[in-house]
Structure formats: C-alpha cells, structure tokens
C-alpha cells in the first residue's frame, strides 16, 4: 500500500496531498476501480485558477465520461503530461504516477475527509 498519510479526500473521490507550497491532486483507488480502464483525460491549462469543488476536467474510461472536481482551490502549475500517452497510470497507480494536477497558492477546503473518514464514506456508498 502507498503511504496515504496526509492525504485528504473529497466526496467526489479526488485526493489531495499538500507538500509545502504545492498540492497534488488525483483520484482514489475506489474511483479508479469504479471507472475501469481510463483512456483519456481532459485537463486544465497551466495558470488556470480553480476554486474548491469546481470542475477541473473530465476523465474518460471505456465505460463513460465523468467530471473531475478540484478538492481545493489554487492555481494550476502542472498537469500530468505522462497521462497523455499513459492514461492507464491512473488505474495502475492512482496515488503515485497516476497523479493528475498540481496547484499552488492553495486555498484549503475544510470539508475534505481524512483517509479513515473517506473509507467509511465509500463503505456507506457501496452498500
């Protein structure tokens, strides 16, 4: 298991991990398993300002297209360019090389869940 300590989750199944000035955003293991084979991501441009909870892009699997939401506010500094040729990284390693965007000037979102609370939330959803 990857180290999920310090990672927080949105109820829309994105995770965020803050490291100094930078926050990295991805989707959870549960989200990737529900989506199935990821084949394409539509990601924001560098410099775009996002508020917590707004649509940051679209993730497409073989099954369907789904919206992605930014778990925190901030300015996009990077979108994971590797995912262009390897969207399957989101399935294979959602907390590692399958990260999606990085943000700076982060505005926190108090509604995010820690891992334990998120696991309980997912548990409640799948029953």
């Amino acid at each position: 298991m990857p180290d999920l300590s310090g990672m927080r989750f949105a109820e829309t199944h994105e995770w965020v991990k803050q490291d100094g000035e930078t926050a990295t955003v991805g989707i959870s293991e549960y989200a990737q398993s529900q989506l199935g084979d990821v084949i394409y991501l539509e990601l924001p441009a560098v410099g775009q300002q996002l508020d917590a909870g707004v649509r940051l892009g679209v993730i497409e699997s073989v099954k369907a297209a789904s919206d992605l939401y930014s778990p925190v506010g901030g300015e996009v500094t990077e979108a994971n360019a590797e995912l262009k040729d390897h969207p399957e990284y989101v399935n294979q390693d959602p907390y590692g090389k399958g990260w999606i965007i990085k943000l700076r000037a982060v505005k926190d979102n108090p509604k995010l869940l820690d891992q334990k609370a998120y696991d309980a939330f997912v548990e409640g959803q799948s029953h």
């Binding site: 394409y40 497409e60 073989v62 099954k63 369907a64």
Partner: protein, 361 residues
C-alpha cells in the same frame, strides 16, 4: 424484474468478475481490465460466456424464409448466414445468425434483449402454434476467440475442424460435452462459438480455461466484447440500428435478397427508390477525444448526424466510432466534427471495418 443468471454465473463470481446487467441478464463486464482482455483476444485467446444470447428453433422453412432478409433455401446444412429481421416498415427488429441444421430445420441465434420479442414475432407469423421453439434458456453459449482459439478447440475435440470454415458448423463434442461447434464470432478474430446444454456449461468452461492456460487464455467480459466488435465494424443492435433504421441505412445491403418476398421487403425497395437520407459510416477521431453514443456529428457548425458507437481502439491507438450522416457526407476522407462537450472535435470518415485480422483463414 430481476436479471437472469447464466449457468456460468458462479464461475464468474469465483473469477472475481465485475458484473453488469445486459439485455435482462447479469453478465461479466470484465474480469481483469478491458484493455488486457481485448489484447488477449487479438493476440492469444479469450473465453466468453455468451449464454445470454437467444436461440430459436424453427422447423418450418417457409416461416424462416418469410421473416429473414436472405434466401435461406440457398443455405446448405452446416452453413450459417448473418441476416436481419424487419418489420413491415423495413425497420430492423433484430440481427440474427441463421443456422441450417442437419435435420433441415433452422436455428436462429438472436440478441439477448430481443429473444422474447423475436419469438413472439415468429409465432405471430407462423401457420402452426408449435412452428417455433424458444430454447434460449436451455442452452449455454461459450465463445472461444483469438488466433489461438482454433488450436485450443482442436485439442479438445475429435471432430475434423479443418472442414469447418468461417460461418459453418458441426455437431460434435468438445471436452466430451455435446456441442454445436460454430466457426463464428463477434470480435474480428478467428474462433468458435460452442452451444451446449446448461448442465454441461460449467464443465466445458473449466476445461477450456485449464487447457487454454498454455495459450494465454483470459476469461473476457462484455466490455472487451464491445471494444472488439467495434474495431471489427460489427453493428450492435440497439446502438447502431433499431426498429427506426432500415438495413440500407445501416449498411447491411449485403444481407438483403430483394428477389424474394419477406416482411419489410416492399418498404425497403421503396426506400431505395426514394433515396436514403442517412447512412451508417465509420469515422476516426483526428484528436484524442472519445466519441460516444448519442453525440452529435457536425459540419460547419450544423448538426448533420449522430454517433451510434464510439470508443478508443486499443489495437489501433486512436478513437473510432460509427455514426449516421447524410449520404453526401459518407465518402471516406470526408472531414466532419463530433460535438464533444460543446467542442467540434475533428474526425474523418473511414471505410469499415477499422480492423481486419492479419491472416484470415
């Protein structure tokens, strides 16, 4: 209504499949990933539970001749035809495989969700009440598809499969299970579809999985079946055609014998005389976006058609789809747009199929 289970349901659960509802049945969507299962079928062999498909047994040749679009009297026993069933207006009720059985009767293999409707349609047009029999719930169907499929089945049967060409079948045994061994499929690969009684399905499935291990066999779900059939340019009933489309629009002219009388024939002839307003075409995306069923096809900002199927092609490495467009826009090479979330993504009409296996037998 609860979804029906095939005799292989417990096998799928044991193999860890994600299940989905399809055509009134609970079926495996995927066991591992759609990408891996897709690749296994293109490069090795995939095993499919297709027991949801419907089977109708019809003894009366004149009934078959009246409802299907092709001349079944030309079909020799042991041979199979792809055909459509139409309503009076020429709309497609279903697409089917017609098997000419050795006893001179016919077997129609029909789509899962249409089997009761098709059966009702047969009975409505039958002279005798017992002319058609619905055996779909008594039979299982297992697909063995991929370049190593023929070798695998050959190791498990004493039937001479060399004579069983594409769209032919024999009755025999596989792994000592009595089967109809049919050289057909819905993946674009060589292989067989094996019909057997429900009670034998688990045994046949397990032996194929075990014996196929050295071939790299993978149980494969409906997810891969859909991406495979799309690459092969095969239409999916309910997506690419339905009762509001006729076979000419769907590009299925080759399934029609307009010299004979069948239900829908006159309407189809009239439609041909009047000229078509739309035609099913294949297209490929020129960017990385993914076309989906229901997306609009656009040209110069105007809506000109609708996407019926679309997805990434794992084999080709770009996105592909099928759509209805006006005949003037149907020539390969024509540039069109696909409305993906409000943006006209560039696409080009291409001829079908998208994928053809390297060395067809």
């Amino acid at each position: 209504m609860t979804a029906a289970r095939t005799p292989l349901y417990e096998e799928h659960v044991r193999l860890g499949a994600q299940m989905t509802n399809f055509g009134g049945w609970v079926m495996p969507l995927q066991y591992s990933t759609i990408r891996e299962e897709h690749r296994a079928v293109r490069e090795a062999v995939g095993l499919f539970d297709l027991s949801h498909m419907g089977e109708l047994r019809i003894g009366d040749e004149s009934l078959v001749q009246r409802v299907v679009s092709r001349d079944v009297t030309r079909l020799r026993p042991g041979r199979i035809q792809y055909a459509v069933l139409c309503n009076d207006a020429g709309g497609i009720i279903d697409d089917v495989l017609v098997y000419a059985m050795p006893d001179r009767g016919y077997l129609l293999v029909v789509n899962a969700g249409n089997q009761d409707g098709d059966f009702g349609w047969m009975r409505k047009h039958a002279q005798a009440a017992n002319a058609a029999r619905n055996i779909g719930r008594e039979w299982a169907l297992i697909g063995v598809q991929g370049p190593r499929a023929v070798g695998l089945v050959e190791r498990l049967t004493s039937s001479e499969l060399g004579d069983v060409k594409y769209y032919a079948f024999v009755e025999g045994t596989v792994a000592d299970v009595p089967c109809v061994i049919s050289r057909t499929g819905y993946t674009g690969e060589d292989g067989f579809e094996l019909f057997c009684g429900n009670a034998d399905a688990v045994r046949l499935w397990r032996v194929l999985l075990e014996e196929g291990r050295s071939d790299g066999i993978r149980p494969s779900g409906l997810g891969a079946r859909d991406t495979l059939r799309l690459e092969a340019g095969m239409r999916l009933y309910g997506n690419d055609m339905d009762a509001d489309t006729n076979p000419l629009e769907a590009g299925l002219d080759w399934t029609l014998n307009l010299e004979k009388d069948f239900i829908g024939r006159d309407a189809i002839v009239t439609s041909r005389q009047q000229g078509l307003s739309r035609q099913l075409v294949g297209f490929k995306m020129l960017d990385r976006s993914i076309p989906r069923h229901g997306y609009r096809v656009v040209s110069d900002g105007e809506g000109i058609g609708t996407v019926t199927s679309g997805n990434v092609s794992f084999t080709l490495g770009y996105s592909i789809g099928m759509a209805y467009v006006p005949p003037a826009m149907s020539e390969p090479g024509t540039r069109v747009g696909v409305d993906v979330r409000g943006t006209a993504a560039p696409a080009e009409v291409v001829s079908l199929p998208f994928y053809k296996r390297p060395h067809p037998k």
